[in-house]
């Protein structure tokens, strides 16, 4: 056994057998609860893809359901701007908007679910209504997730201030560790082996 040195690589450990055992045991307990927030943007799907690639060890039937994919629908009132005080949305309009929203969410979540299935990770999906940033943080807290994964649009500072950033808000307010995945400059998420 060598003592750890500052400037060189430090590897402290026992025999190979003990390490293997420890690794298996460590893999057992490393099933952390992951929550990934998705919306219609490609950035969030890239974040989901990255999480599936890198955060999950045990895959397949034996794995516990450790991934929650959450999608937050904006409340439909925002879409309707009343021209006068006494004009309210009729129930037909409300229903059709709601249906369109549900279709949208269904498309997004089925895409997410398919991605999870391809990577052989069990996932559950969750649809919430409300302001995305607040709902995501609330959901993460209520479900006691171990890590929250969000994509990022990569906005500049000024745009961030005006458009608001869900990833910024979550980074500030989520109680658990947060992973912010920005889409790569290249189109394909390849390994940086070049």
């Amino acid at each position: 056994m060598q003592t750890p040195e500052m400037s060189a690589m430090a590897t402290v450990g026992g025999g190979v057998a003990a390490e293997e055992e420890k690794e298996a045991a460590a893999a057992e307990e490393k099933e952390m609860r992951v929550m990934v927030a998705v919306d219609h943007s490609d950035g969030s799907f890239y974040a989901l893809h990255w999480a599936l690639e890198n955060l999950f060890r045990k895959r397949g039937a034996a794995a516990a359901e450790a991934l929650t994919v959450v999608h937050v629908q904006l409340p439909f009132q925002h879409h309707i701007i009343p021209a006068a005080h006494d004009i309210y949305a009729t129930s037909i309009v409300v229903d059709s908007v709601r249906k369109a929203q549900e279709q949208n969410s269904a498309v997004i979540l089925s895409r997410a679910f398919r991605l999870c299935k391809d990577k052989m990770v069990k996932a559950e999906t969750l649809i919430l209504d409300g302001d995305p940033k607040e709902m995501i943080c609330q959901a993460a807290e209520q479900m006691h997730v171990d890590i929250l994964v969000v994509g990022s649009r990569g906005l500049s500072k000024i745009k961030r201030a005006f458009l608001g950033s869900v990833s910024d808000y979550c980074a500030h307010h989520a109680k658990c560790p947060i992973l912010i995945v920005k889409p790569p400059k290249e189109k394909l998420p390849t390994e940086s082996s070049n």
């Binding site: 500052m6 690589m9 980074a171 307010h173 992973l179």
Partner: protein, 166 residues
């Protein structure tokens, strides 16, 4: 199946939050295990030292010998002091690593922390950056330290920010 992470940088600065982030990373991030076609993944513990001019305070006029750090004894004293701080930080970090039985490398850079961290991510082709965030207390817990905020926005790789839960 192991993860695909080849290079994970953990930025430490001596605060307890960054050590907590290091412990979290060691516990939860699985690196690529050695196989025939790829080398094993490794953690890199990165510490950014503030440049000597900052270390003396922003008012060089207060130094009795003048604005420029031409006085070698004084500059050397500052550098030695900073080196000792860095060593202490790495000692603490490596002790944490040895408890967890993981391969780690250490790296020191001098400069402005947020820029240097993002630079290191680029130069080392990191797959993930882990950092703590400075928490000043329950009220300021709402605010992310400026370094982690900057890195979350500008680093080339995914960034994990580990906060200490109250």
């Amino acid at each position: 199946m192991s993860g695909n992470l080849r290079c994970v940088i953990v930025a430490v600065d001596g605060s307890e939050e960054s050590m907590k982030a290091l412990r979290w990373a060691l516990d939860n991030i699985k690196l690529r295990s050695p196989s025939s076609d790829a080398e094993a993944g490794s953690f890199i513990i990165l510490h950014v030292q503030s440049p000597p001019s900052i270390a003396t305070g922003l008012n060089p006029g207060a130094i009795p010998f003048g604005a420029d750090l031409e006085v070698p004894a004084f500059a050397a004293a500052i550098e030695a002091h900073q080196r000792r701080i860095t060593e202490a930080i790495f000692d603490h970090a490596l002790k944490i690593c040895s408890d967890k039985n993981v391969k780690v490398k250490t790296e020191v850079v001098i400069g402005d922390s947020k820029e240097k961290i993002c630079e290191a991510v680029e130069n080392l082709h990191a797959d993930l950056l882990v950092m703590g965030s400075r928490a000043f207390g329950p009220i300021k817990r709402m605010f992310l330290g400026s370094v982690s905020n900057y890195c979350a926005n500008h680093a080339q790789c995914p960034v994990t920010i580990v906060k200490d839960t109250a």
